[in-house]
Amino acid sequence: MLKPTILVIEDEEAICNFITAILNSNGYQVIKTGAGKEGLSMAASYSPDVILLDLGLPDIDGVEILKSIREWSKIPVVVVSARGHEREKVEALDLGADDYIVKPFGTSELLARIRTALRHSPQSMGAQALGEEKTTIGDLQLDYEKRSVFLAGKAIHLTPVEYKILALLSKNAGKVLTHDYIMKEIWGLYAGDSHTLRVNMANIRRKIEENPGAPKYILTEMGVGYRMVEEL
């Protein structure tokens, strides 16, 4: 099987080397650059499977790179940013980034993000788009056809909106979904503030999580959105 290619656009050499080493040792092929402009042309010529993009580049703003990539391609982009820049992350996600990872990150976190991104890449989406009928994460089981949810084999009663939110998250398991994105998907254009979403989320958690204070299935990405885990 062909090794998946990952383009790393990152100007910090130390981080770049460390990312390259991890990815290489985990069976990925890596091409890297420290400059935004070069990154853009490499994205076009190599057509990588995933792009890892640092938002704080010296020559071009990372967000601009993301915009120009999205003009012609759906290659999954994972954004790398510093902690505390929530608005930057949300902006990047709303502009079409697939996920983000916060510095400093660990090996497992990076690999998980890359795996998720690859699963959502255009090539693999072909199979997924047909629609799986069921999803199982730990004890949680979703049946999309019957619109029903089971926890450890027991049926769980959810309101239609709660079900829609849970289904949306599970179909994008592993990926972070911003508040705005979820609200638009569930309530359409006239989604109000995020309060309603939070209330619904709290209710869902009370139904599926053992302890809503330390959730296992749906994680909160502070200031950004929610992420459903792929596996326990």
């Binding site: 130390a14 400093p104 990150f105 660990g106 939070r198 994680l219 200031g223």
Partner: protein, 509 residues
């Protein structure tokens, strides 16, 4: 009494005698030429008028009016050279002459007095204007003092001096005195405290010392200094001069106040700039530290992944990772602190679900300390509290981190959230089962850079910033934070509260 006054006392009677003699002489000339007596009367009236005009005050005019009538009676009415009179009709002449003389002399004196007043006012205005003009150009307190002393000395013809008080209202050690027209000297004060005390007890407009009369300069808020006029000059000062001095002091006070205000303004602006510069520097350094730290943490983690746990290199890499991680949390805390200390803390307050914030903190802590188990209890209903989620999460992380540092891995750490219906506060409680807080540490816990001395150095390093930040963040939210030892067993208990509702004033703004 000065020389000018003495001269006046001699000149004025001479003037009266002289003018009346001249007019008597002219009267004789008229008498021999057998001109009508009317001419003689008119001549006397002219003399009285001139006397009133040339002398100061009403006295000489009035006196000369009466004398003129008697002179006319004495020399020119029959019988000559006596004060008796043959023709009783002359009595009417005398009476009218006296009245006319009185009236003209009064009018003349009055006009003369007004002219004098106007002249005096003019000099006053000019002096004050001169002073104000100079004071506007003054760029520091020494300029002001220099101009003031010079101007007052010229104005009153004395060697005036000025003593300044500093910003706290204490007297300075030196005062400036005019020595000659172009030279000013600094003289030392023997007892500044004494002067200050005397000035504070001042009830009249000035204070009499052994060498000077001291006039205080009152500023907008406190006394700014005093003008010192040598005793000899001060004793002979007229009311008009005192008034002039007062208005000059008033302008000096204004100028000094203005200077003080602008100095204060400059200084506070400088301080703000410096403070911002320091915060920016700290923030920039922290920011730059993050990136290499990511590299160190990532690389060390990778080495750990590549080596087996029995490999000695695993422990080395793990130690590197732990230290880098500690540095990283220090950087996070410093960044929060610079945000908090910028003076105007802008809280990004939004209603947040408490459980989400809690979960965020626990997730972070569990990643760092996987060997610890954290027990969570929360109310069943959803709790939405207005807060800056990032900052509150930082508080929770710091408190949990603190609890973990003082507890063994098998000890229990508990975090609970409750709603206090009465006070409308949410109460967060974090308890550990460590050794608790020693009595001597308890009062200093939230002070900056305070780390317990009872701890073995570097056993588990504390930063000394964590709790300070918690304190600042919670207070900024309008809540309270406190620490105590558990009652039921050993261990510490940290409690903080957050208001459940947005305060009225915040909603309005």
């Amino acid at each position: 009494m000065n020389r000018r006054d003495k001269a006046r006392m001699v000149v004025q009677p001479l003037l009266v005698v002289g003018l009346l003699s001249i007019s008597s002489g002219i009267g004789y000339a008229f008498h021999f030429s057998e001109f009508p007596e009317t001419n003689i009367v008119i001549t006397y009236l002219l003399a009285v008028h001139m006397i009133a005009w040339l002398t100061e005050g009403f006295l000489w005019g009035l006196l000369s009016s009466v004398i003129a009538t008697f002179l006319f009676n004495f020399f020119f009415t029959e019988p000559y050279l006596t004060f008796s009179v043959n023709d009783p009709s002359y009595i009417i002449t005398f009476f009218i002459m006296t009245v006319v003389a009185l009236i003209t002399s009064t009018i003349a004196s009055h006009a003369q007095k007004s002219a004098l007043d106007a002249r005096q006012k003019e000099t006053e205005t000019k002096a004050v204007y001169n002073l104000t003009n100079h004071l506007t150009d003054a760029s520091n307190i020494n300029d002001i003092v220099g101009f003031t002393v010079g101007e007052i000395s010229t104005c009153f013809g004395c060697r005036a001096a000025c003593l300044c008080f500093d910003e706290n209202g204490n007297s300075e050690r030196f005062f400036i005195q005019q020595q000659t027209e172009s030279r000013q000297v600094r003289r030392e004060i023997e007892n500044p405290e004494e002067i200050k005390r005397r000035m504070e007890q001042l009830k009249t407009g000035y204070e009499i010392g052994s060498e000077f009369y001291d006039w205080p300069i009152y500023g907008y808020e406190k006394m700014l200094g005093m003008i010192r006029i040598p005793i000899k000059t001060a004793q002979t000062m007229s009311a008009a001069q005192t008034r002039l001095l007062r208005s000059m002091i008033e302008s000096v006070a204004l100028a000094m106040d203005r200077l003080r205000a602008s100095e204060l303004h400059n200084r506070s602006r400088e301080e703000t700039v410096q403070e911002r510069y320091r915060a920016n520097l700290l923030r920039a350094i922290s920011h730059d530290l993050r990136t290499p730290l990511s590299g160190i943490m990532g690389t060390s983690e990778m080495i750990m992944d590549m080596s087996t746990q029995t490999d000695p290199r695993y422990d080395l890499a793990s130690a590197i990772h732990k230290d880098a991680d500690w540095l990283h949390s220090l950087v996070e805390n410093i960044l929060s602190l610079t945000r908090l200390q910028e003076g105007k803390l802008i809280l990004n307050k939004q209603p947040e679900a408490v459980e989400e914030v809690l979960a965020g903190a626990i997730e972070r802590i569990s990643k760092q300390w996987p060997e610890y188990e954290i027990d969570v209890s929360m109310p069943d209903e959803l709790l939405m509290i207005p807060m800056d989620a990032k900052l509150i999460r930082q508080v929770l992380i710091n408190l949990l981190d603190n609890a973990i540092k003082h507890t063994l891995p098998d000890g229990d750490i508990h975090i609970s959230v409750e709603k206090d219906e009465n006070s409308h506060f949410a109460v967060f409680k974090i308890t550990d089962s460590g050794s608790g807080i020693s009595q001597e540490d308890l009062p200093h816990l939230f002070q900056m850079f305070y780390t317990s001395r009872t701890q073995i150095a570097d056993a588990k390093h504390g930063i000394g910033l964590g709790l300070t930040i918690c304190d600042a963040i919670i207070k900024a939210h309008g809540g309270t934070i406190e620490a105590k030892n558990r009652n039921d067993r050993t261990g510490a208990e940290f409690t903080f509260t957050l208001p459940m509702e947005v305060q009225m004033y915040e909603q309005l703004s």
